[in-house]
């Protein structure tokens, strides 16, 4: 099993003829069966890690948050995400500019941290720290971590178009064929 899963790991360098080299990693954890993706391109690295719906609900429930807050995120496919400045200068991103693309070709906005906080405050709580910051301006060495939420059912496939700004220029990257975590762990306990 582990040997088979190690084949899932691929790290690809884009052809050197291009003006930049992008690193792409796609991995399946042999123990949990969960998937992870990472792209590092022109100074910006973004990593997405599948999280099981039960684990996400557990995180919020065990904070003692109202059940309505826990229920509010159940309809979303949640990824652990890490955004990192790997450039030698200032870099910024804005989640409101990112889009996920469903198989029918339609583009959709991602729900941002301020939108989650506004919703949760109405439900009597605020656990906004768990969500990836909506906008960040990173200096050298800075990074951020948090949940990225996509309003799709477990197991859904989609592309993610994300962007960042560096040296006054806007760059775009795409994760193709991301998959929401399944309802249950893909590996039998």
């Amino acid at each position: 099993m582990k040997a088979a899963c190690s084949l899932c790991l691929c790290a690809c360098l884009v052809a050197p003829a291009l003006s930049h080299a992008a690193e792409y990693i796609h991995n399946r954890d042999p123990d949990s069966g969960l998937l992870a993706w990472k792209k590092a391109d022109r100074g910006f690295s973004l990593e997405l890690i599948q999280l099981l719906p039960d684990h996400v609900a557990a995180l919020y429930s065990s904070r003692g948050l109202p059940p309505a807050v826990v229920d509010s995120i159940r309809g979303y496919c949640v990824f652990g995400s890490v955004a990192q400045n790997q450039s030698g200068g200032t870099l910024s991103y804005r989640v409101a500019d990112w889009r996920y693309v469903t198989p029918d070709g339609r583009q959709h906005r991602l729900k941002t941290k301020p939108e989650w906080v506004a919703e949760w405050k109405k439900l009597g709580s605020d656990f906004g720290w768990s969500i990836l910051p909506a906008t960040m301006t990173f200096d050298i060495g800075d990074w951020a971590q948090g949940f990225t939420t996509v309003q799709l059912p477990p197991g859904s496939h989609f592309d993610l178009i994300y962007s960042w700004r560096h040296h006054g220029k806007r760059y775009t990257g795409t994760f193709e064929n991301l998959v929401c975590a399944p309802e249950q762990s893909p590996v039998a306990p």
Partner: protein, 183 residues
């Protein structure tokens, strides 16, 4: 506690445990690198004062530490990079224990029990004050957007450096930066 709630609670603890150390739920990608750079802020603005209780309920007022260099760290137990960087903060604190240097680790929206369990797992365990910002008033006033975020306040009470995301605080470059402020 209802059985279903107990199940969620236990699962939640499991999630925090594994997220912090990257194993199965992280799907085995390498952990993000903990950097050792600090951003020099300009102009140096006066730090916003606060008074927050520690684990024993004793209040700590930032302005009472005037004349010392203060590392102000905003964190939470469930935040993986916060967990990773805290032992390096303690090692730094030990190295500078004979210097006018203080670390104030400001926990976000958690209770003493949660923090107590967490700090007991750390090696070395933190000996610096852990403060409680239960409604995040102080973190919002300081403009914190994500956890962890750290600031270094100089002896004059000005915010001089910032770091967003986890750091290896006992890295020689960070130690050197702080020692320069201590002169």
């Amino acid at each position: 506690m209802r059985p279903s709630n107990r199940r969620w609670h236990l699962s939640g603890l499991l999630l925090w445990a594994v997220l912090g150390f990257a194993a199965p739920v992280r799907a085995a990608l390498p952990l993000p690198e903990m950097s050792h750079t600090l951003t020099l802020l300009s102009p140096k603005k006066p730090a916003r004062d606060f008074s927050l209780p520690d684990l024993d309920g004793k209040p700590h007022k930032l302005s009472d530490y005037r004349g010392k260099v203060v590392l102000v760290n905003f964190w939470a137990t469930w935040c993986p990079p916060c967990r990773r960087e805290m032992p390096s903060m303690e090692r730094l604190s030990q190295r500078l224990q004979d210097q006018p240097f203080v670390i104030l680790a400001i926990n976000q929206q958690e209770e003493a029990d949660q923090v107590f369990v967490f700090t007991g797992q750390l090696d070395p365990a933190p000996t610096f004050p852990i403060l409680f910002d239960r409604d995040s008033t102080v973190s919002h006033a300081w403009g914190v957007l994500g956890l962890p975020t750290s600031f270094i306040v100089d002896k004059q009470g000005r915010v001089v450096y910032r770091a967003m995301g986890g750091r290896e605080f006992d890295h020689p470059e960070i130690e050197q930066t702080i020692r320069a402020l201590l002169k």
